[in-house]
């Protein structure tokens, strides 16, 4: 499987996007890296390709005939030496540039590398981004009204959510952090299913056992959200390992925020994936804030992209508010991960417009006009909307219809989910193990007896 990079003007409207496409890889080489060889990449196999050979810089190590060796031999290979004592500076003079395709007005920058997107796909992407916006808004309001206990918005990160999901195949296993409901939305999770999880009712797939926004669906290959930060990163290495063992045409895709990269599991997950050559795509949503901790207090490196090389992982920094850039980067990364069986790191730069969650008021630690600026002028949904409208694929009428329909559907979903009965008491004890052990059976019997004896002490509608 390979990807066709195209010049912007000519091919935008004519190409159909199809994940099963096989074409010649032609890479435009703007960077000082060696050119990736043009080669037919056949059906996906798990062995490495020539492209990995180019990573070695051939000029550095030269075998020498002289008495004086030009390199030193240590475990780990030969390394050139120098008599000049020079420390590698803590940062490079220029930060790693950010890959983008759109300008701030939603127009494709001339001569950009990107994977063309068909009208159908573009419209779907836009619709889903708008749906995500509406969903976040309505559920947030529902929490404020006390109808659900907690919610976490993805405002400002819609492009990362939807564009990355659009770039993946349904077989790719997603290990989310918690700010990626858009990926699940793309895969077909309905608004009703979201609402059911938030209300923890009987229809919830999680059976009412987790907080709101901790979605999970094995049907959609979306692993259940787990609150502790970064625990999903080593698990992603494990999923990649599993896919590699079974030689599947799929990869693990996992998300993490800027704050989460400080966790030990970040180091562990990346290192393991690299050593095992596991097909994992690590997507870091660098949105500037970890609750109230700004990134300047989180790390001193140039963001997260530079950390990739430290683990031997190919990485890229991308404008996370640019849907086409995210789409292209994730799609390419996914192909690399699967065909070359290697991990890839993507740092998507963005901004967390909303509060960390409904338990947070971010105006307490950041300027209100900063939030307003990002919300209005750097809005990823508006940016993509401009492009889609400019192409004649979307109109104001479509817009208002979509938003009002989605809103209606959501309000309806919430109403229904709210009234839906909750799980019976027996679900408190199920699924702890595959089969309920004796001690849990006893505890269940004891609790049942207690509830039946004094029903007035328990909420109405609480059934055993």
């Amino acid at each position: 499987m390979a990807i066709w990079f195209a010049r912007s003007r000519s091919l935008v409207s004519s190409l159909r996007q199809n994940l099963g496409l096989s074409a010649i890889l032609i890479k435009r080489d703007y960077s000082p890296r060696p050119i990736i060889s043009k080669s037919f990449l056949g059906p996906v196999t798990s062995h490495r390709h020539e492209s990995t050979a180019v990573e070695k810089h051939p000029d550095l190590v030269q075998p020498s005939d002289e008495e004086d060796v030009l390199e030193l031999d240590f475990p780990g290979g030969k390394v050139g030496y120098t008599s000049e004592m020079k420390f590698i500076p803590e940062s490079t003079s220029h930060r790693v540039p950010c890959y983008r395709v759109f300008d701030k007005n939603g127009r494709i920058i001339p001569n950009s590398d990107f994977i063309p997107v068909s009208e159908k796909l573009a419209v779907k992407m836009y619709e889903q981004m708008a749906t995500l916006q509406v969903m976040d808004h309505i559920f947030y309001e529902a929490q404020r009204q006390g109808r659900i206990s907690f919610y976490l918005t993805s405002v400002g990160e819609e492009a990362i959510n939807i564009a990355s999901a659009a770039a993946l195949s349904p077989d790719d296993v997603i290990l989310p952090q918690y700010r990626e409901p858009g990926v699940l939305l793309w895969r077909g999770f309905t608004l009703e299913e979201f609402a059911n999880q938030c209300f923890g009712n009987k229809a919830d797939y999680g059976k009412g056992r987790q907080m709101p926004i901790h979605y999970g669906s094995n049907r959609h290959n979306y692993l259940t959200v787990s609150s502790p930060i970064a625990t999903q990163l080593p698990q992603a290495a494990g999923v990649g390992y599993s896919l590699k063992m079974e030689k599947k045409n799929a990869c693990a895709v996992t998300f993490i925020g800027d704050g989460g990269t400080s966790e030990g599991d970040f180091h562990a997950g990346l290192n393991f994936a690299a050593v095992m050559e596991a097909p994992v795509v690590f997507i870091c949503r660098n949105n500037g804030w970890a609750i109230s901790t700004h990134i300047s207090e989180q790390f001193r490196s140039d963001g997260i992209v530079v950390k990739g090389q430290a683990y031997g992982i190919r990485s890229i920094r991308v404008d996370g508010n640019d849907a086409l850039a995210v789409y292209s980067a994730v799609r390419s990364a996914r192909e690399m991960a699967v065909t070359e069986q290697r991990p890839v790191l993507i740092e998507a730069m963005t901004y967390r417009v909303g509060h960390h969650s409904t338990s947070d008021d971010s105006t307490k630690y950041r300027a209100a006009d900063e939030i307003q600026y990002w919300k209005m002028s750097r809005n990823p949904v508006n940016r993509f909307k401009k492009w889609v409208e400019d192409n004649g694929w979307w109109s104001e009428e479509d817009e208002s219809k979509l938003r009002s329909n989605t809103r209606k559907q959501l309000l309806q979903a919430i109403q229904v989910a709210e009234k839906w009965e909750k799980q019976p008491l027996t679900e408190l004890f199920n699924d702890v193990y595959d089969v309920k052990p004796k001690n849990l059976e006893e505890q269940e019997v004891g609790l049942k007896a207690l509830v039946e004896k004094r029903p007035e002490d328990y909420p109405p509608g609480f059934h055993v």
Binding site: V173, L175, D204, Y205, G206, K207, R209, Q210, H214, G216, S217, N218, L223, T224, S226, S227, P228, T231, Q232, L233, P234, Q235, A236, A237, G238, V239, Y241, S242, L243, K244, M245, E246, A252, G264, D265, H267, A268, G269, N271, F272, V275, M276, N430, D431, V432, Y433, D434, P437, K438, N439
Partner: protein
């Protein structure tokens, strides 16, 4: 320490007591009392021990999971060390199910620090027997991720104490994700490794992790103590759909025993009747089993008849077997290696008191290590672990 502990044999005749009169001192008496030489000869395992004495054991029929009689009577079987038994079990399961894989530090070509995975990398390849970088949280997390997508990993901690670094993954994910995902994702991992107090390994390498992990909901814990149950438990743990933590002991890896040639597994939730008796129930597991059996020899010489049960299943406790025993003997002594506070013994004491209070003639006694880090010096280390002499004294005290 030999895994096969013979009772006094036919040589000595010993007395039995039909009932215990707490006032009377237990004293050996050779008059008028039937010789019980058949009943107290109990092997460390139920396998082909030439002295087939199980027939008289009618009281607790199903204490041992497998039919011990079959191989005992046929006399076939092969002798091996405990670590080889673990390896055999692991290899058989890997042959049987291609989803079973092993991951841990130095498990591949090095064969594992206690050689449990020796030869497996050559046979199954480097991917299925995976050498990982040093990060317990990472490879445990990796195992969990792999399990959720269909593999059955066996995660080896080089020493159980290092798994404290993996506590987050074990508690927050391994035990929890089946529940919080509404049953959508299962995590059939086996987490195993050597633990317990060794010979002067220092405090950090002498941890008893079972006491830290016992509260985590969603996991099962088992402790093996003989080559027979090591292999059986390993196989059962791999086949289980739940995450299982298999505790091995550093000092038991070289125990030798004859185990059946036929395939067998041990029940994960069952306790093992080591030595049936009448006077007192001694509950123990892992290495302490051997200290108890050593004390039992002395006790039997002194005329006591202890019933020794290797609880094997640390979470959940096999209260059925334990309960039957308590109802018979009315006295309980727990001998463990955990520390006094918050160990397996503490939980077991609470469970027995709660469930079998009416059947007890004396308070439950628990012998454990003190609440101190394990010292290095040999003499100090010996004092921190329960010794047979203490067990004998405790039994005498309880049986007064």
């Amino acid at each position: 320490m030999s895994a096969i502990i013979h009772g006094a044999g036919a040589a000595t005749t010993l007395s039995t007591f039909k009932s215990i009169d707490s006032k009377k001192l237990v004293a050996p008496s050779r008059t008028n009392l039937p010789v019980r030489s058949k009943r107290f000869i109990v092997a460390g395992s139920d396998s082909s021990n030439g002295l087939s004495v199980r027939q008289s054991q009618k009281l607790i029929p199903n204490a041992v999971a497998t039919k011990a009689d079959t191989s005992a009577t046929t006399g076939t079987g092969h002798e091996l060390l405990l670590f080889e038994a673990l390896q055999e079990g692991l290899e058989e399961e890997m042959d049987r199910d291609p989803h079973v894989c092993v991951m841990g530090e130095d498990v591949g070509h090095y064969g594992g620090s206690y050689k449990v995975t020796k030869g497996l990398a050559d046979k199954f390849g480097d991917l299925r027997v995976l050498d990982t970088p040093i990060c317990e949280n990472a490879f445990t997390g990796m195992g969990i991720g792999a399990a959720m997508t269909g593999l059955r990993p066996v995660i080896e901690g080089m020493n159980m104490g290092f798994l404290l670094l993996a506590f987050n993954q074990i508690s927050n994910n391994c035990g929890m994700l089946h529940y919080t995902s509404g049953g959508q994702f299962t995590i059939p991992v086996v987490i195993r490794g050597p633990g317990g107090v060794g010979r002067q390994l220092g405090a950090e390498h002498s941890q008893r992790l079972e006491s830290y992990f016992q509260s985590i909901p969603g996991i099962q814990m088992v402790a093996c103590s003989t080559p027979y149950n090591a292999k059986g438990l390993m196989k059962a743990a791999i086949r289980s759909e739940n995450p299982v933590i298999l505790f091995e002991h550093v000092l038991l890896y070289n125990l030798k025993e004859k185990i059946p040639d036929e395939e067998y597994i041990c029940n994960l939730e069952e306790a093992e009747m080591v030595r049936p008796g009448e006077h007192i129930t001694i509950l123990t597991y892992s290495r302490m089993r051997y200290h108890v059996m050593q004390a039992a020899k002395t006790l039997v010489n002194k005329g006591y008849d202890p019933e020794v049960i290797d609880i094997r299943s640390l979470k959940p406790f096999d209260l059925y077997t334990i309960g039957n025993s308590v109802k018979k003997t009315h006295r309980v002594l727990i001998v463990e290696e955990c520390m006094r506070t918050g160990g397996i013994g503490a939980s077991l004491t609470a469970a027995i008191n709660e469930n079998f209070h009416d059947y007890l003639d004396a308070p439950v006694m628990c012998l454990s290590s003190q609440d101190v880090p394990t010292p290095y010096a040999g003499t100090l280390e010996e004092w921190t672990v329960v010794q047979p002499a203490q067990i004998v004294t405790a039994v005498e005290q309880l049986c007064q």
